[in-house]
């Protein structure tokens, strides 16, 4: 993986993937919650492993996450990650207004299962649009959930890339509430495997140098 061959055009392509993918996911989330959900302009960064965990508030910050592997033409990892309070709100809304506790390991099977389903639907719509946009055959694995330290969770998505590099390309899209605009509801992280980048760029007719 040679990051020097990646031009601003390539980064724009990745940003567009994040834009379309997360756009569809935001619509799905909005339908599920029956309220408006907004998203920020996706950021695409080539960053060190340390910096990735900083994006979610530091390595020790506790988050609720759904993880899945992308299999097919352009394999990779995908995370849907929420600050713990936001996950409680989201699941509370989904489960008909009941109070959901996720902190301190006291969460119910029901809450965890709902979280998994949310992750499933959102990442499914993200991936479908990613696949439509590129014409690549992409399928999600069965999602897995974890409520734990952000660093511990994210490092799991870095193993493929870490065999070739100390840096990763992260496509990050943040969700916000329409009313409270600054409040970040969650993040989508797409981490393509190193060999997937050339496949994505080729599929869109902009091969790497």
């Amino acid at each position: 993986m040679d990051f020097t061959k990646i031009t601003p055009i390539h980064l724009d392509i990745l940003r567009e993937i994040g834009n379309i993918g997360a756009g569809h996911a935001a619509t799905a989330l909005s339908t599920m919650l029956n309220k408006a959900v907004d998203m920020k302009v996706p950021s695409v960064k080539i960053i060190s492993f340390e910096e990735i965990t900083e994006m979610v508030g530091g390595s020790e910050n506790i988050v609720a996450s759904v993880f899945l592997r992308i299999v097919g033409d352009a394999p990779g990892c995908m995370f849907f990650m929420l600050p713990i309070e936001q996950a409680e709100h989201l699941l509370g809304d989904l489960l008909g207004g009941q109070t959901v506790q996720l902190a301190e390991g006291e969460y119910s099977e029901m809450a965890l299962s709902a979280l998994q389903e949310v992750g499933n639907i959102l990442s499914g719509s993200y991936l479908t649009s990613f696949s439509d946009f590129t014409g690549l055959n992409l399928q999600p694995s069965v999602p897995a959930t974890s409520i734990d330290m952000a660093g511990a969770i994210l490092s799991f998505g870095l193993f493929e890339i870490s065999t070739v590099s100390d840096y990763a390309i992260v496509i990050d899209t943040a969700f916000t509430d329409m009313k409270k605009h600054d409040e970040v509801k969650g993040h989508f992280f797409l981490l393509p495997d190193p060999e997937s980048f050339s496949k994505i760029f080729n599929a869109l007719g902009v091969p790497m140098g």
């Binding site: 492993f49 530091g58 390595s59 330290m149 660093g151 969770i153 490092s155 870490s162």
Partner: protein
């Protein structure tokens, strides 16, 4: 004033009292502490991958792999004045953060890291005094070279000292 030496992902560092050394958010990575309890010198490595033969690129970060990181940590300690026969180790991490029914080899990275770390320490004749490995929880660990106590914090299983 004592300070906390922070060790990042794929990083290695040394510590002497009154300072302590710490790494945060260990998932399937393994935190390896090697210490000389007489000379009061300790070091920590945050190992990400089991084996440097997995490497696919020319440049190499030795702190990333169990085999190269532990060797480097060992050499750093000896150079700093630690005595080889005094050296002991404590290890923590190697969790399986996500449970998958169809487990590929990459998904078993935690247990593989632990195996590799144990093997490498054995090669260097450094005994492992205590360990807290496996499970499905992330860990933040902090080592005090004075008392040689390793404090392990988890989200789901509380805090313990080994």
């Amino acid at each position: 004033m004592s300070e906390i030496v922070k060790v990042g992902i794929a990083d290695i560092d040394l510590v002497t009292p009154p300072d302590t050394i710490r790494t945060t958010g260990l998932g399937s990575c393994v935190g390896v502490i090697i210490f000389d309890d007489r000379k009061k010198i300790a070091g920590m490595a945050h190992v990400m991958l089991p084996d440097s033969s997995l490497i696919k690129s020319a440049s190499m970060n030795i702190g990333k792999y169990a085999d190269t990181a532990i060797e480097a940590l060992y050499d750093m300690l000896i150079k700093k004045g630690a005595i080889a026969k005094n050296l002991k180790a404590k290890i923590a991490g190697g969790a399986q953060m996500f449970q998958f029914t169809s487990g590929s080899e990459m998904m078993r990275i935690g247990p593989r890291n632990v195996e590799s770390v144990k093997h490498q320490l054995n090669q260097l004749n450094v005994p492992i005094i205590t360990s807290d490995v496996g499970g499905s929880s992330g860990r933040t660990i902090e080592f005090d070279p004075e008392s040689t106590r390793l404090t392990i914090k988890t989200v789901n299983a509380g805090t313990k000292v080994i």
